[in-house]
């Protein structure tokens, strides 16, 4: 029972996180690339309930940020006017799921007030909006790459476990080769061979394909083990005796055994691949400006002065940690369920 509840909690958390990121256009108050050149490196906006006269407000509000005239990139609150935070406000147009043009945002403040929940970057772009939009790229990269890996792994694992012999031998030796490759250097190497001049969409696809293709070996080995044990079961022999084809046996009797492992693998691989994308983008080999991804958001921290001066630039790392922990909790829960035999 406890295991089930754990799975449910972790899954709900992950689904909520993914939904938020999927609905980035709605949740984010601003466009990720829109610059506010008067507000570079603004710290996160404070939410207030108590105003300057010490009056309590039920409705949370903010004060507009203004630059200090005497110092570089230093700001203060303008206490003259309160900007209450409204829900479902009209704002800049965005596209939902690449199709519907919408204007409504989850929250916002009246112009000329601006709300920067996670501060701004060097160009005055809202870091919160960028993290959400960047999450779309990073998470999608993780999910698609994991799907590629699992699909390849499943195919190779099934064939290799089911047919054994030289096919198995050669596939597994190849898998070992892939397992010992230091993936980061392989990624860097592969990226270096590709033309540098790629459109953002192409870059994204190439990244995902490369990351996914490199990672097939581990799921393949796991699937092979399961297939090996499944195909020696008595009901498989019986089925074969009734004249069942290989394809039927695989589909009907063998594959169902692999699902639990595949799910667990997926939960382990997705965060791993999200981090792979982040790493590549961090090194400047992923998407280029102005498209955000968690990797190129974090790349700002390569500058020493940003690293020591603007703590909110670490925010994408926090999002990355949340996603990784969420997935690992699910993987763990799946694993426990698998051990107790209920998946």
């Amino acid at each position: 029972m406890i295991g089930k509840r754990k799975v449910a909690a972790a899954v709900v958390f992950l689904v909520a996180l993914h939904l938020t990121i999927f609905l980035a256009g709605f949740v984010a108050p601003y466009q990720p690339a829109s610059q506010n050149r008067d507000f570079p490196y603004v710290p996160p906006t404070h939410l207030h309930l108590m105003d300057a006269q010490r009056h309590f407000h039920l409705h949370p509000f903010i004060y507009q940020t203004v630059a200090r005239p005497d110092a570089l990139y230093e700001y203060m609150e303008d206490r003259e006017r309160e900007y209450p935070i409204h829900l479902f406000v009209p704002g800049v147009e965005y596209k939902m799921a690449g199709r519907w043009r919408l204007h409504t945002h989850l929250f916002g403040v009246d112009a000329p007030g601006q709300i920067f929940l996670a501060g701004t970057d060097n160009y005055g772009r809202d870091q919160f909006s960028r993290i959400l939009y960047g999450g779309q790229i990073s998470l999608a990269a993780g999910l698609v790459a994991a799907a590629i890996s699992l699909f390849l792994g499943l195919c190779v694992g099934c064939i290799s476990g089911f047919y054994a012999g030289w096919i198995d031998e050669s596939a597994m030796r190849l898998a070992e080769l892939f397992l010992v490759l230091p993936w980061l250097y392989v990624l860097l190497g592969v990226r270096a061979f590709l033309p540098l001049h790629l459109s953002p969409a192409q870059t994204f696809l190439v990244l995902v394909a490369v990351i996914g293709t490199i990672g097939w070996a581990r799921p393949a080995r796991l699937v092979r083990g399961i297939v090996l044990s499944a195909k020696s079961r008595k009901y498989v022999t019986a089925s074969r005796g009734f004249g069942a084809s290989d394809a039927y046996i695989l589909r009907r009797h063998v594959l169902p055994h692999t699902y639990g492992t595949l799910l667990t693998q997926a939960a382990v691989l997705v965060p791993q691949y999200v981090i792979a994308e982040v790493t590549l983008s961090f090194f400047g080999l992923g998407l280029s400006e102005p498209m955000p991804s968690w990797g190129n958001l974090l790349a700002n921290l390569q500058q020493y002065n940003v690293l020591v001066s603007y703590w909110w630039m670490f925010a994408p790392a926090f999002a990355l940690v949340l996603v990784s922990l969420g997935y690992l909790a699910v993987a763990n829960a799946f694993h426990q369920q698998l051990q107790s035999g209920s998946i």
Partner: protein, 614 residues
Amino acid sequence: MLFTSSYNLAQSDIQAPRIANMPRLGYVALLLLASVVCCAASEPQPVQHGEEVQITDNAVGHYGGVLTVGQRSEPKTLNPATAGDAPSREVIGRLTADLIHINRGSQQTEPGLAKSWTLSKDGRVFTVNLRHGLRFSDGQPFDADDVVFSFKVYLDENLHSPQRDLLVVGGKPIMVQKINPYTVRFTLAAPYAAAERIFDSLAMMPRHLLEKSYQEGKFAQTWTLNTPPAEIAGMGPFRLKEYVPGQKIALERNPYFWKADRNQNRLPYLDELVFLFVGNEDAQVLRFQAGDTDIISRLGAENYALLSKDASNRGIELFDLGPSLEYNFLVFNLNDLTSKHLGEISVKQAWFRDLKFRQAVSSAIDRKGIVKLVYAGRGAALWGNVSPGNKFWVDQALPHPPRSIDHTRDLLRSAGFSWKGDQLVDPQGHSVEFSIITSTSNAQRLKMATIIQDDLSKLGMNVHIVPLEFRAVIDRVFQTYDYEASIMALGGGDADPNPEMNVWLSSGGTHLWQLGETKPATDWEARIDDLMQKQMVQLNYKERKHLYDQVQEIIAANVPYVFLATPNILVGAKKNLASFKPAILEPTTLWNVDELYYLSGNHSSSGASPGAKP
């Protein structure tokens, strides 16, 4: 390991022939003797009778101390005639001296190894009188033979010295002639404005050490980093002490340096000058903050702000010297691509060649935003090629049109462009879309590209940024022409217009927007050619300025480059370093290293010996 072994190999290569000719024991004894002489000789020698030292009017300091500075990368060579990279030149500049020197502070020329010079009435014959009684850092005398030898090396076509171009005036190399041991005559094929400035940074080399290798055709391989210090000598304030691969290069006082203070104390005051190979700017900031280095030059504005937060606690002082001479610009590829297979770029060149398109791009760019976001306010917006930091040559009348999106749209409309939704399309219906290449090693130019991308997107132009490795950018811009637009920077060497000839003459090697023109492609380029040639032979400053002003106006009106901004020169130094007078000309901080000294009692650097008077 790799480093050490290759180092030993190279060293033994060089020494092998000498060892073979000498009994081994004798060689060791000689080495010992040399090292004893060396140590003793590092103390400043008293000024001799008849030695024409230059007396500086600077504050009188005292001896002692080690000055440590960080370098981005290791120098490649110590050979003055082959060094092209900045770290090498920075070190060589401290080991050597020139005949006539540009004072970085005043930006005017002053006597160096030459105590005086005269120019003939036709502006073609230059007679230089050398100081008497000077000696190289190994104690050997310096005279006209060394000068003639040095120029012979620089002018040698087979050596491809980077200085050679400067010494070819009116299409012919300068003629150098020894009149007597202390007088040299230079004959130019054509009069040359500010001719004395070309002598700056031309290191005078010791004939007694280098002539043999030159005659054997091995000159390019001499004076590498592995050459033993005893075989390198110059006229600079310091001489080579030690090179540790991957770590540092240490220089010690030249005991025979030809400058002295008012009290006849021979300069330099510092015992040693050490260049640490630190790495990028951030690494330099960390080392400077930690107190490992005493001076930091070429600081970025954000690091400047960071350091200034606790500057007084750390005992450092920071200097903002105002706009540098460097100009950053966006350049469109206008090269002739007929022989190249770059069809897609050729189509876009139709826009780039349209003056109104270039003007529109220029008018849409938020230069103030660039200064604010890229240089954190410590820079200046540019509308022409001469930075406001160049006070002698900037054309103050040059217009600074404010940014205007409406004006830009009018310009584009009048050039036949229109809008489909938000997207700008050309008269043939192609969407306006191009890419800007820029070097990954320069974060500031990447930021400029991001700002320009955003500015131009407001006009409906779709701009992609392609960060490339520095060499790849250079290769595309200079060789393959496989680019659409690029952000680059030029300038920063000298304040005078003459080093800019290469950029503005249509045949120039840095005429980036269209390289290799056999004749000027447009009327205005022909006019620039004419004006630049005229200013080069005009000896009167006012006349020259008038000519160069016209050049600046033509450039601004025709926008071959979209000028963006120039950074301020920002530097820092330990507070107890006296006589520190940074300047906007390179080398910004070390140009008067011979005059620097530590205020008494608090030498910050390790190894500083107590100040001893000679």
